[in-house]
Amino acid sequence: MDPYQTYTVKQLFEQLAQTRERREAEQLLGEIIKRYEKPLVGKLRTLIPYNEDLIAQVLNDVFMDVWKKRRTLASVETPRAWLLQVLSFKVSDAFRKRKNNEEYMGNIPQDYFEIPENHPDFDEERYRRMEERIQEAIERLPLMRRTIFTMKKLDGFSIEGIARMLKLKEQTVKNHLYLAKLQLRKILKKSRKEGWK
């Protein structure tokens, strides 16, 4: 039995960062590939349909990046999210490299995360209503949470910056943010039950 099967992905990343043994590192990378190759291929198929060669190349690049950056992997907080981010960068790179090819011009796929506001499916009015609801929910947060949440989400300050400005510890800011999001979800869930659509 593979000893690394029971490891979480975070543990795999940390172990890969620490180990100096080539064989162990190889096994750890193999385990990461084994776990995430298929999900990543699934994602790639939504981004680059009908181009298995390019998919294979991008996938190869993603795991190559994991290997190259293995010494810094211990600092990755959310490894799975990190893998998807790397994937996104590699897809962009692959398309940029082929930019001169007419076939790909203007055909760069977009992640559904990056929904443009002029997308045909985008309902401006509905989005605005939802935003208002969220704003109302935000206003119902306690003062400190509201302030921190607003600074982070609307004003775009970093956690470090907020901590410095409000003279708080970074962990306190993170806690406030976590609680604010939890409370917002509760408020919004409650609003929906009350009949809001």
């Binding site: 190889e26 294979a56 559904y112």
Partner: protein
Amino acid sequence: MYDPRDIKHIIRRGLKGTFTAQDVAIFKSAQMIYEENELLEMEMDVLEELEAELPGVMPEPSMDAETIIRTEMHQCIRCRLIKGMRVGGGIAALWLIWLGIMAINDWWSEQTVPSAYEKLVTAGDRIPSSEFACTIYWGNSATIVGKESRGRLGRFGDKELRRRDNGELELVQLPSQFAFSTGHQPDIRVITGAQQQCAVWLPDGSLIRLDAASDLSFPMEKRSAPNTEIGLTGRALIRVHEHADQHPRTVLLHTPNGSLATQEGEFAVLANRTDTRVTLLGGRVEAQFPIDNGYRILTNTGDQVTYDRCCTDVQGNINMILSEVTRTDPWQAVTWTTRERNYRNVSLREFVLEMNRTYNLGVKSVNCIPEQKTITASIHFKDPVGKIYGYIREAGLAMYESNGMISFCGPEFDPGRPRYPNRVSDSLDLMDVLHSRDLLAAVPR
């Protein structure tokens, strides 16, 4: 609606391409509540779920850790090689550029940077060559070269003398049909008198600048061809260029008590009957003097060697001494080329000797000038001799004239000359006595 499960459902629809307008709006607004990492984690959950739900649809894994590691290693090696080649190429390029710069610099130096001689000739504070004058002797003929002389000045056997526009003389070798051999041919002699200087280009391309009271002899007979032999008495600045010939040519300079040889060099020579001093400005000069271990090589700018009298032995023979090669300021050896010579607290003896050379004062001896006496003076090359006398008198030195010669040792008495009247003090200035200025006053009544 903003529950993670709901969001995951929306992501699932997004991945399947079945996003609705409501999904888009919810997902966009959810980005305010959820961090990007959280949404990505949710997305990964969904992808894993999808993969678990449709195992047959996805292809078998094709990635292999070993292959990736090997590929990365190859890439790394290639990357390092390319980097190394770039660095090597860069160094090679820099080296080539450096070589190119050095070559251009050398070429440019040859083209534009004047040699020590040219610096002297062209520098603003040097005596211009248009002022040059001298006399050329060949056998019984004499050619006086003045400031106004121009063009072809004469022919000496198969050599022709010309004066360039800049005032320099040029000895040109004529074609062989002009050559004639009727036995011994006298040397060509270039002689400078008082307050005269002269520059002569020899047929081999050597350039010799003569100070006042100098004598350059150039043999018409090719004694040691292809080498050039010349003789010098006096003071000169000599430039010898290296020849492009396969066999190196040497210029041999004979002084009254030594000889100097060079294939390429610039040097100043002070060649008197009793002493020789050589100062190197550039190149290499070999000096040979008639004394044990009398061979010296001068290779660095400023190298100087002096061959001079040192002492007299018990039999009354004068012994000579040859100094080691010492480093001096080379420009001091060529101050005689300047328009204005400035002397600050220099030895009066040195000053008198220098002026004697330039103005041909006829100084008999400087031994009577006190050694510790110094003088500060500024002499322009056109200053009259009277100014020199003035400086010497100002320094507190009495001059006595005898048979056209100047002495600093007091009046001289020789048997062939009437003596002073009785009781006339010998300490009186002879000039005054001769001009009867103090004679009556001196004679007791």
